[in-house]
């Protein structure tokens, strides 16, 4: 354990290779650490940091700090400096190919490439909380404070809005093939069909069953048609979303108050964080049946 920031740490994430940890905090700093706890690189901006994301290749990390998207290279070299956006950045994510960087901020989404100014901006009167781009790079979606999802087609900026969730939307997940998008709000999961012309006018598949707030959601890397979720009631569920009938295929009940979830990249096993600071591993049966 080491002192990484002056004040609260907002996010800390392993690099994809597991070689580094990036952290950002209320001190407005973004830092990269090696496994011995030595600082490899550092950047600072005015304001609080809100989110950070590693590029898929693990060579670079980006963070939202105040109104700025700040980038750091893991080799300690200087990264691109972006201009400030009109309002505080709330969330950041990379495209799968690492070429584009998406920043959700109050009042819209900005897309950056290699220059200081955004290459595209999608203004929208709302407050994004999380942002996710489809792996084919065609869509970018935000989950918002006003209990909605907002979707942009990256090519032309055309928009879709999904509303009517019971709470703000903090969890969104893209399927590996970019054809499906899942989101969770409170104890409800919805899956949207992005095949063909997209989900315009369509109804999502609803998945109910958790009895409290869902805090982790993700498609299974080893089984791309399966979706996993965990909630604060200690339940962990595995779903195969189907339009009619029961989507639930397996569930576990534990005594933990879960706070987060990630899938193992190689097994049908999830790793969950709990509100009491534990890390719990939950395995599901292979070849899940009905």
């Amino acid at each position: 354990m080491f002192e990484a920031h002056d004040g609260d740490v907002v996010r800390a994430k392993w690099s994809p290779s597991g070689q580094f940890v990036a952290s950002c905090g209320v001190d407005g700093a973004l830092r990269i650490w090696d496994l011995a706890g030595s600082m490899v690189a550092e950047a600072q901006h005015r304001g609080w940091a809100t989110d950070l994301a590693w590029r898929t290749d693990g060579d670079e990390v980006a963070a939202g700090i105040g109104r700025c998207v700040v980038r750091l290279l893991a080799n300690g070299m200087k990264a691109v400096q972006h201009e400030e956006l009109p309002a505080s950045v709330e969330c950041v994510t990379w495209s799968e190919d690492g070429r584009r960087l998406f920043a959700g901020h109050y009042g819209g989404v900005a897309i950056f490439q290699g220059s200081a100014k955004p290459v595209k901006t999608f203004p929208w009167k709302g407050a994004p909380l999380v942002v996710a781009a489809s792996s084919d790079g065609k869509w970018v979606v935000t989950g918002n404070q006003d209990a909605s999802l907002h979707v942009w087609k990256v090519a032309n900026g055309s928009e879709l809005q999904m509303t009517g969730f019971s709470t703000k939307v903090l969890l969104i997940a893209w399927s590996r093939n970019s054809l499906r998008l899942a989101n969770a709000a409170m104890n409800e999961i919805s899956e949207w069909d992005f095949s063909g012309k997209g989900p315009k006018g369509s109804k999502p598949i609803g998945m109910l069953g958790h009895s409290s707030r869902i805090v982790g959601l993700g498609y299974v890397p080893t089984h791309p048609d399966l979706l996993g979720s965990v909630a604060t009631d200690g339940s962990a569920r595995l779903w195969r979303p189907v339009k009619s009938g029961n989507s639930l295929i397996q569930s576990h009940r534990t005594q933990h108050v879960f706070s987060s979830m990630r899938w193992s990249p190689t097994e049908l096993r999830m790793v969950c964080g709990t509100s009491t600071g534990e890390v719990v591993s939950i395995s599901f049966d292979e070849e899940p049946g009905q």
């Binding site: 609260d8 907002v10 304001g47 609080w48 009042g107 709302g126 404070q145 209990a147 709470t167």
Partner: protein
């Protein structure tokens, strides 16, 4: 039933430019009171205070897409409060200072619409600082159509008003200003201060948004005749004996929120519901309404319906007449 004790109370300090709002915040921070207070400011204060937790905010207001046209909230506050609550062992109170020109509604509404905020924090009171000497000038300043008079709105939203800079005004002026304050907001308590020096228990942990303490301050209901000045924001008080029909009163509240919600800044009330031995208490900010059955009426207590609505262009007769139709005859 009260869960308020486990929640961190948040006091919102508003006040027009030059009223002494920052002086109040600095006084609260520097006074040796043993209370641990986190302060969220809109501008960095000039005075550095050791050990105090001071956070700089940006006024990021956005509209909730929830069918409520006046429901704006402060996104930056949601973010800051959310992060603060991860380390709640460091403070017991939170103070939010708004800018002089701020409309208090988005700040207040933030505490009603976000689940995480609601579950951990409670809006305790809105404290407004006014300048005794210059208030009248701000109040009756001519504004173009559609332009808000923020000084008026800040008074309308207040639970507590500091009538500050009393050393600069004569007793006559103070009495006149107090009259204005009462006619705008009959339910706020007013205290005269110099250099914003006030008993901290009067501004912290007041419980003004606590349903069980609704109307703890007896509103002074003024008659129309006492309205000396032509002002757009007034308090409309209703005090009527009798029992209300629960369905009719629901319709009445629905009409009030739907038709007048944009114009009503604050409302508080106690109802005597037909068929119930318990008081029904409610309060609200614009269209956001919070109501529940409360304790039983006392043996010797007068079962009287008491309500106060503070807002713009409120027609006292219309509201009262419609209310009377809800009474069980």
């Amino acid at each position: 039933m009260s869960t308020s004790d486990s929640k961190v109370p948040v006091t919102v300090v508003t006040g027009f430019l030059g009223s002494g709002k920052t002086t109040l915040v600095n006084y609260i921070l520097s006074e040796n009171h043993g209370k641990r207070i986190a302060v969220i400011e809109n501008e960095f204060g000039e005075v550095g205070v050791d050990d105090a937790l001071i956070i700089d905010a940006e006024e990021e207001i956005f509209e909730m897409n929830n069918g409520c046209i006046c429901c704006t909230v402060r996104g930056d506050l949601i973010r800051i409060l959310g992060t603060l609550m991860k380390r709640r062992d460091r403070f017991d109170y939170i103070l939010v200072e708004t800018t002089g020109l701020a409309d208090p509604a988005p700040v207040a509404q933030t505490f009603f619409v976000d689940d995480e905020i609601r579950s951990q924090l409670r809006l305790d009171a809105i404290v407004t600082v006014v300048d005794a000497k210059h208030l009248s000038m701000h109040l009756f300043e001519e504004k173009a159509d559609g332009v808000e008079n923020e000084a008026l709105e800040q008074i309308a939203f207040a639970d507590r008003i500091l009538l500050n800079k009393t050393d600069l005004a004569s007793e006559e002026e103070l009495v006149e200003v107090e009259g204005h304050l009462r006619s705008i907001n009959a339910s706020a308590s007013v205290v005269r201060t110099h250099m914003s020096k006030v008993d901290l228990d009067w501004v912290l942990n007041v419980g003004a948004f606590d349903l069980q303490r609704v109307l703890e301050v007896e509103p002074t209901f003024l008659d129309d005749s006492e309205h000396v000045h032509d002002q757009s924001i007034v308090s409309v008080g209703i005090e009527e004996a009798g029992q209300v029909d629960v369905e009719k009163i629901n319709d009445w509240l629905g009409w009030l929120l739907g038709e007048k919600g944009v114009d009503i800044f604050r409302m508080k009330g106690i109802l005597n519901v037909f068929g119930s031995d318990n008081r029904f208490v409610f309060q609200g900010v614009h269209m956001l309404f919070d109501g529940q059955p409360d304790r039983a009426w006392g043996e010797k207590e007068d079962r009287v319906n008491k309500m106060i609505f503070i807002g713009r262009n409120l027609d006292r007769d219309e509201i009262t007449q419609r209310f009377r139709k809800c009474l069980v005859r």
